[in-house]
Symmetry: C2
Subunit: 404 residues, 2 copies
């Protein structure tokens, strides 16, 4: 059932830097990992999730990155091949998901046991691969930091992205919200059923949002940074919360012009500072949430915190309240195409890469933002969406959007 | 039962500016208010609370202040003398407490009905007069913004002040906390029973707090601003919250040197700005909470929000879980002495001023931070503290600390 080669090498993706300083992603081989040591788990990877941080990392725009060459990737699913001593919560053959700080994009990986989780039997490897980053982030934003309450008004961006879709599903757990979001206009039809007000991100939405919520918005979730920080703060109600959880607007369209990007980022960095006293005078708040930073801490408390939330998310999955949405699946060799989907903002839900595209094992469903047992789902999804099971099928959507 | 004069004038305190530009508080008379209009309530004031914002206002250090001369004061208690049309929740003769944006320090006041609340029958006028600002602030900080949870670690300042005492009482509602606070060392004995770690504010407490909470603190409540903003942020755990709810450190010891104060404030204002990206990278948050700003909004939603919390606080009072602590009582004529107690940080709990010191009606109890039915209270309070009733007594502590 696993894709382990009989040779001593395994396939992986590395981020390398050429002699001219250009960063690039490349499929290569690396020696098969040795046996897992104390507290470690060896996993045969089935599917990996792509995140916007992978795009930022591709261009060197993340803090505290390893020096190239290294294996990127923050989340993957697979089967446990072997366990080290003092590993009791998973065993050989278990289907698991992994959250890791880099190193996920390989055919086999060795990881510390703490962020390896057995997945529910109903969950496909692809669903599992795209779950951790998006749903941990969305859950923490809404329920740990945002403390969202019935009747409140929320604004968030990139409603069609991985975190956006997870937010949309989780928001249905809270009654009587007013939900406002931005997204690319070509995604509006797919998103409209579950979001009350949709705006294009590139327009200045402040006036429109003020009409909808004259007293202001209770919670703004911003994955863009830049101009949206100032806009978000301007729209907050008293005791309102602005949470920055990403910086994707720093990646401009001339994404390959590294100099241009760095310059833009640096300007924003220096200028967009907030006065504590202004927050005090206005009774507003600014939060930052950075999952990668939490992963890098590696303290017991951090790992317990994240593990606790993964289990809460699994319960919601088993109750049918959430369902990860896979937009498209690519092979490792197509990784640049996979990243291109995120750069072009063409995805609804998450993009997957697999070391060996498993055409016989899983089917990619049409994107939808709702869970399949939701009464509204028909309005955003195709006729095959009631098919809740991941069946054997050749229907793999090998998206050929190429921008890399 | 009320203190209404038979003449057409009433006593009040005004903040006025002399020809030389000096601001001063002065007791004077003003015409008796006319009958309350639609939605208004006329109140015979029994007792007024003093807040640090009154000190800041005295020196012109608050935003959006009225131009002198005006009547200061944010909270008072009294008896309803008359009601306008469309006032149904209070009636003539009711014992009430009032939250107002200025104008509380007068023998009679007319206020809008929304922030007038009938007080529990067990609550004395003095307890009522010092309740709104301190307990609304403390409740919102802990439960609305801070979202404090069992097992967390909290740091706050001015533990002996009005809000500090309210925080200490409310924190007992949450199990298993680690409570760290700063206060003047002469108050340590009175505070020690309910605060696990006490530090002097003027020392650099960062190293000590890091020893107590190596992973950092979940919640920092800062009424000082200035250096404590940076310290508070440095001490936060991931997803930790720093809340600025006051700026008392901006009032330096040379408080009468208005030029010096303004200069110091302006410097801090310009320099202590926070990068959104730094918050994002560190997964931390900064909140501001400013009760005065909420009062100035005057929207229906704001008033409903505050009224809802006042009722929650009253329930806690009736359950014996909180009890406002009156440090000392002064007459209107002694208002500068009353403010001096706060400037010198000599109070534990709140300071009261009364238009006519009601020596026969109430007794000031020895300061304590715990509720009287608390098992630990004996360690911070005197032998008469089991006396939960406000009895008729001449035992009024007319503190003569004079610094104004």
């Amino acid at each position: 059932m696993t894709n382990i080669n009989s040779t001593s090498d395994i396939k992986c993706i590395i981020l390398q830097q050429t002699f001219t300083g250009k960063r690039e992603l490349k499929v290569t081989t690396t020696p098969k990992p040795s046996a897992p040591a104390d507290g470690e788990v060896l996993i045969a990877v089935k599917a990996c999730g792509i995140n916007f941080n992978d795009v930022l990392g591709r261009y060197g725009l993340l803090e505290d990155m390893p020096r190239p060459p290294f294996i990127p990737g923050f989340e993957c699913s697979g089967e446990v091949l072997d366990i080290g001593t003092n590993v009791t919560h998973v065993d050989r053959g278990d289907r698991v998901v992994v959250l890791t700080r880099y190193s996920a994009w390989a055919e086999q990986i060795i990881v510390k046991k703490d962020l390896v989780f057995k997945i529910p039997k109903e969950m496909s490897f692809r669903e599992a691969a795209v779950l951790p980053v998006a749903y941990l982030t969305a859950y923490i934003l809404l329920f740990e930091i945002g403390n969202i309450k019935p009747g409140q008004t929320i604004l968030f961006h990139s409603a069609g992205g991985g975190v956006g879709v997870a937010l949309t599903q989780l928001l249905k757990l809270v009654p009587n919200l007013t939900i406002i979001a931005t997204a690319s206009s070509h995604k509006f039809d797919a998103l409209r059923a579950h979001i009350h007000y949709l705006f294009e991100h590139d327009i200045d939405y402040i006036g429109d949002v003020k009409k909808i919520a004259p007293e202001g918005v209770d919670l703004v979730l911003d994955c863009m940074a830049g101009d949206d920080c100032e806009r978000g703060l301007a729209l907050l109600k008293f005791n309102g919360k602005y949470i920055m959880y990403g910086t994707s607007s720093l990646l401009s369209w001339d994404v390959k012009n590294l100099f241009g990007i760095t310059k833009g980022m640096s300007n924003w960095w220096q200028n967009d500072k907030i006065s504590c006293l202004r927050l005090f005078q206005d009774s507003k708040s600014i939060h930052g949430f950075n999952l990668l930073q939490l992963l890098s801490r590696g303290s017991n408390e951090t790992r317990r915190y994240l593990a606790d939330i993964v289990h809460k998310v699994f319960i919601l999955y088993k109750e049918g309240k959430i369902k990860p949405v896979v937009d498209s699946v690519f092979t490792f060799e197509e990784v640049n195409n996979a990243l291109g989907k995120l750069i072009d903002r063409k995805n609804i839900g998450k993009v997957v890469i697999e070391p060996f595209l498993n055409v016989k094992s899983e089917k990619v469903k049409k994107p939808k933002t709702s869970t399949s047992n939701d009464a509204h789902s028909s309005s955003t999804s195709g006729p095959d969406d009631d098919d809740n099971e991941e069946k054997e099928s050749d229907d793999v959507q090998q998206n050929t959007t190429s921008k890399s």
